[in-house]
Amino acid sequence: MMGKTKHNEEFDKLLRSKYQLEEVKPAAHLWKNIQKQIQGGPVPVKSWYLSKVVLIGSSAAAVLGLILVLFYFVYLKPQRLSSTVVANSKPAVSSPHASELKQNKTSLTVSRQNTHSKAYTSSTTKKGGTIALKKGSHPIFAKTLLFITPMKEMKLVFPLAMAANATWYKTVPTVIKPVSVIPLAGQKHVKKATRQKQPKTKKYYAAKSKQQKAPKKQKLRKSVLHPWSIEAFIMPEFSSRFVTPNPNYTKGIFTPSYFNSREHYTFNYSYGLLVDYRFLHSLSVETGLSYYVYGVDFSTQGSYLEKTGNHSGFVYTSSGKSDLNIDKVDSLDSQSMLSSSSRFDYLSVPIILKYYPLKSLYINAGPTIDYFIGQSNSWDKHDHEGDFNVESGNIEGINRFNISFIFGVGYEKKIWKKLSFSINPAVRIHLRNLNPNSTVKVYPFNAGFRVYLRYEL
């Protein structure tokens, strides 16, 4: 019997070896037939999401665009102080020319001219001391500087803001004094202030900053007159997922890293209509209805399988159910090539609070309640015949309600009368496991940018 088995093995081995280099040259007409078929044949259906490279590229471009827009509006085009501020500015000082300022050896002066023929000057003395608002400082930094005015030790407060301001004006602001007001284009050059050699007192600058704040308040009060607005938004989102094993289903079959490493970043999106109520000049709340699509693409390239004798199984995640055809436990890594894609649709009600530290910049955060309305899943079933059959179906047990938390920062710009445009980079964290029946707990994490148009009512 043993001899017989051994002979069979030898026979098989010999036969197998004969076919190791087996090659038969095909006739020329075969390729022509194939070519004819594939040229007129059906084009494979592309995945519903865009390619990863395009998405990453477009989001990078969007972020870069946002930075450029912010840079332009915030740094290159700072808002001119209103005429009221100029009128209220005391004492009146003369407007020295840049050449004059440069001649002053006790101070370092930089003059800058923008497209509105408006000069911003900045001067500092070499003696340290208190910090004060100065026309020429950018509003952002001016605000920061005002905030830190009472603090005498500069080193302790907002070094970053100081450094940024200093970088822009090529100077380190230690003591800043009001020096000049440059007229608008077409106006005559009016002497408003004169440069004083001695630094002003803290009291003086506090009073001045109060004067400058007053018109801003008036302006903000004006905006409260139209507290209601509507927003139409769209938010492309990239998705990643936090996955932890589900103790109810973890039987040593799959490891969390298995899922993390093999689930692809995917493209999701949401869009909807929101109502915004600005109840304070710097605070607003928005809510409404949006449609949110969460999708995930999943492919198995290997797995850790418990050696229990099971030679088949399936992957059951929120991504979809994928059957595993396992020939040998040890060779699963090279044998399994399954993929699945899922799309879950939700109706979302966000309740987002927006805080405007500056007129055009805001921070927003708040929960969204997502109601599960549908799903579409497809997966390749790599069957025993070596074929990739695309199957589809529903995943059981998806949570009806999910809660996500969104937070981000945004820039808003009035583009036409009551119409504003905003771009709002934000992240969305799911606070609830999508599918309690899954072998793992899945908490998607999305990052994207919301773009909206807001119309004041």
Binding site: K25, H384, E385
Partner: protein, 183 residues
């Protein structure tokens, strides 16, 4: 062929580039046609399977996840096509008629060594269809009995006994063939 080139070809195929499809065809066609001949009864059937297999490959190549498994994946598709043809024709012939119980098995190895691939392929083609499949799947491809049983829709015991019989038939045919050639 370098892995990078294969990757480039596959990428081209995914994008339906004609040059890439031709490259892939030129690269694997001889090997795959040989496989098709083993799994079918004649050249005409083999060419049908071959064409269908390549069309399927070009249609589904975007599903390929790992470049290093390309050949294995392609083979699977051709084998599947051959199995489909086998099932369509209901050639589930697992006859035992040919079996002779006493064969000088030790002689067959020597004969097998001397025979060319074409001759052996012809002998395999002459086997009953079911046995032909089992010989190919078990001996050449290395599939386990359990999987072959599932593929062919028969019991594992049947595949084992069929394989045993197939070996006997092949050995008998080898001797017959050798005798004819010697004469």
């Amino acid at each position: 062929m370098k892995a990078g080139n294969i990757q480039k070809i596959v990428k081209g195929c995914v994008q339906h580039k004609g040059w890439a499809q031709k490259e892939l065809y030129d690269l694997y066609a001889p090997k795959m046609l040989g496989l098709c001949l083993r799994y079918t009864k004649n050249k005409s059937d083999a060419e049908d399977v071959f064409q269908e297999g390549f069309i399927k490959i070009f249609e589904k190549i975007h599903q390929l996840k790992k470049m290093e498994t390309l050949e294995w994946w392609m083979k699977k598709i051709f084998i599947n096509e051959a199995l489909q043809l086998f099932k369509q024709r209901k050639n589930t012939n697992f006859a035992h008629d040919y079996i002779s119980t006493h064969l000088p098995t030790h002689e067959t190895d020597g004969i097998l060594q001397r025979l060319g691939v074409e001759e052996i392929t012809r002998l395999i083609q002459e086997l009953p269809s079911g046995m032909q499949m089992i010989v190919n799947l078990y001996i050449i491809e290395g599939y386990p009995h359990r999987e072959i049983a599932e593929l062919l829709g028969i019991s594992e015991g049947t595949t084992k006994s069929q394989l045993h019989d197939a070996r006997k038939i092949l050995q008998k045919k080898l001797i017959q063939n050798y005798q004819i050639l010697s004469e």
